[in-house]
Symmetry: C2
Amino acid sequence: MRRPRRSAEETREAILETAERLFRARGYAAVSIADIAGELGMSPANVFKHFRSKLTLGRAIAYRHARRLAERCSIEDLSDPPDRRLTTFLSRLSREHVRDKRENQYLFEMIPLVLEDPAKGGRIYRRLVEEKLCSLIAEGMEEGIYGPGDPVRDAAAIVDMLGCVLNPRMISCADPATLADKTQLIVALVDGGLKNRVVK
Amino acid sequence: MRRPRRSAEETREAILETAERLFRARGYAAVSIADIAGELGMSPANVFKHFRSKLTLGRAIAYRHARRLAERCSIEDLSDPPDRRLTTFLSRLSREHVRDKRENQYLFEMIPLVLEDPAKGGRIYRRLVEEKLCSLIAEGMEEGIYGPGDPVRDAAAIVDMLGCVLNPRMISCADPATLADKTQLIVALVDGGLKNRVVK
């Protein structure tokens, strides 16, 4: 029996879903485009029509996962003050990383692998986090909660400072309890710093 | 003509000086114990009597260099308040790293190589910096300049936060001007944070 024809958009989505399921179960390196095509009952050539390489496919999945993660970590209630939204965002982000590391080991390992994109001048995931931070810092400065500064540079510096608790490579061998503790310490220092630092 | 006999301490010192000079000039990997012994007109066995391996010798040099670096970065004038001594210490440390990277490339590369010591639970150099920070934070807390907290945990968190500007591996590909700028931002955030964070 022939499957009903899917639109290009539906096919793309089906490939993403199937690939993500297989990557999660067996790991990025162990799953080939042929495996994914086989699961979907299509030819590898057909998969390649939608994603020109396994890296492109992996990157689309990682990017979607990272975007969802960043959304999940944001407080949606905009009546909360920006400083609270910022500290919550960072704490949740660290906690979710630890959970991902535990529950989605294969996906967790895959993300830094595929999201490195030197051609685009850095890491895509990093930029997502920086943009979020930057808008919260700008908001906090406008409201006078934070002292004056440059939100773009601040956001970049904060992501660097939190590298030790956010960067997948750095946290891979850390103990989750220590990590949570350290995140809380760093986030409190950053919060106090944004509010009270002396800008030179 | 025979050289006058040196004491064990003098021989040890002569080996350290010669090895450091050769390591600086040609790099750790390119210099053998035999080269060092040759320069000193002694047998390799004699060098091994004082340092049981090239790693032990490299470690002694790196440790001495790191200790001198940490001392050079400290403000000796104890009438300066601890917060100023802390921010100066961190800024100088970062600047000296950049200079070492530029002027003493071989030594700079050697230090992380030989100072990793998993058996002792981490990095020797890191501990040097943490101890210095810890005592300054404790002093600042006693004087009421910093809010309450645990100086040991704070020092560890701050070294982690500054990893992006202090860790030799991290700064190897960074631009010195950007690095100085980022260090200043992070140090100002840490300073403001220590003074004003809300401890939960």
